[in-house]
Symmetry: C2
Subunit: 310 residues, 2 copies
């Protein structure tokens, strides 16, 4: 990133996760002037290495702007721990809880913590920023936002900001099953996404009385009996897992009186397309969030906190 392109930046916003760090140079109105990314995630860098990683990431374009970062950089394994904010949490709450890294111009966005009716906790870190970026600017603020991923997050939003959320280990379970399980060994790679096999998996998990640890085995039974081609096994599994997530999250939202709401999807395009299909099969209307939700969210938080350069 050339220095001359970013001299006018009012903020450098870094989405700093487990494997990757992505930096955005933003003008005073939050528009992106430039961006860059590098495999300098928290897992790669480790304790003590973050100042050097930041210099590497920003290079000659470090500019003098303040830096805001979100994601695993604020975890116990990150640069400095930014303690979780309790839900419900809105923009003001989160901005007030920004954690400065001593001796630097970097401030880190806190993650969120919520508890269900039985007191069981749930946590997220990084997604709070994407959610705030998605809530901004929409004509009607979305009530249900879904962020697919290794650990996908469903957030319920309202007058109180981010009111509650729930995590589903869908992506990690898929990777485990595909890579290490008996079911993964039955699967052969197809040439393309098998949407029929995927939809069949989704429908199986949407049935009344569905149970994931039972239904997963149907990938084997169907393959053994010739009712599912080996090329379809992986997408059938993916459908079972996304269907189980959507069915459970629908119940979760209903328990809080949220029903018939449009779901706004934020994240990787191919993954969001799978979720769109699964959500449609479950009767949800679906909208797409902004492509740069993390940068927008960080800009909103920084502005709220009075961090923007003059």
């Amino acid at each position: 990133v050339a220095r001359e392109r970013v001299v006018r930046s009012a903020l450098i916003a870094i989405d700093w996760g487990t494997t990757t760090a992505r930096a955005y140079w933003l003008d005073p109105a939050g528009r992106s002037l430039a961006q860059t990314s590098a495999p300098l995630g928290v897992q790669q860098v480790g304790a003590g290495g973050f100042p050097a990683a930041l210099r590497t990431l920003l290079g000659d374009a470090a500019a003098d702007a303040p830096v805001i970062a979100c994601g695993m950089i604020g975890s116990r394994q990150g640069w400095i721990e930014a303690a979780y904010c309790a839900c419900p949490a809105d923009l003001a709450t989160i901005a007030a809880a920004l954690t400065p890294v001593p001796g630097t111009r970097v401030a880190i966005v806190p993650g969120l913590l919520c508890h269900d009716a039985d007191g069981v906790p749930d946590v997220l870190r990084g997604e709070e920023t994407q959610i705030l970026g998605t809530l901004e600017g929409a004509p009607v603020a979305p009530r249900l936002i879904v962020l697919p991923g290794t650990h996908s997050k469903w957030a319920r939003c309202g007058a109180g900001g981010i009111e509650a959320f729930a995590t589903f280990m869908t992506g990690e379970l898929y990777a485990l099953l595909r890579t290490h399980s008996m079911l993964g060994r039955l699967a052969t790679d197809g040439n393309a996404f098998d949407s029929a096999a995927f939809a069949r998996g989704v429908r199986t998990s949407l049935r009344a009385g569905a149970a994931l640890s039972h239904d997963l085995f149907s990938a084997r039974s169907l393959a053994l009996t010739g009712a599912l081609a080996p090329e379809g096994v992986a997408d059938y599994l993916s459908g079972l897992l996304l269907g189980a997530e959507v069915a459970a999250a629908r119940d979760w939202a209903r328990r809080d009186g949220v029903e018939g709401e449009t779901v706004t999807l934020v994240g990787d395009a191919a993954l969001c397309e799978r979720y769109r299909q699964a959500l449609a099969l479950a009767g949800f209307a679906v909208a797409s969030g902004p492509p740069d939700a993390a940068a927008r969210g960080m800009w909103r938080i920084a502005r709220q906190a009075g961090m923007l350069a003059a």
Copy 2:
């Protein structure tokens, strides 16, 4: 096994699975005269190697008795494929479907196939024999039999024999999560079974609205917030998985009108003890099946088929 101990055997019964083969020499009344086992499972031996593996397993004690075998030895990867019998299936149906291995004195027990109300298939192989061994001799034949394992099986029995069954991938999911997942990395080995952490996991999965792919993440949230010790994570996970199985299987049995029945557990003692605790938390009464259910089942099948040596 010494030859002199087994000359009177009327049957050699082999429980021949994926990793292990276990042989029993049985007298004409089905009592065990001797037994042996070896790591000569189907996965170790492979195509063409089964005659030699049988000689290795039986050694000098091969005797002249007929041989019956059950388990993965009858799968497509085994010695010869013994096609699945459709459920409901009773002793006579299964005995009539014994598959002889040409040119040998070996006959293989078929597995079972059933379909749920939507036509989704389920399969088992080996457990049919343990179930038949468990049904024999009990004053009141059990209606619900559970065989814990990598893929645990719930069987519903009645006048028609084995009427239906359902598989749960509980054991395989636990191994995947413990060995390869983010949750496994949070766990440290404790010195002993943490029954409180286990029961907490079971209760979480027994809640109304429980959803496995969400609840699994609570192992991380609880550990992160200091509410679950690292030594308890593995048993909490085990509890979540067994609780999810028991909750789903309870619904499965209820859909067929089976409720309030005692569950009979068959299998490894330590694993059955975990199931006993999970089942008790779900309100089930629990009984133990016979320790040698596979050998008893094979003896019943062989007798029914007229295979026993005079």
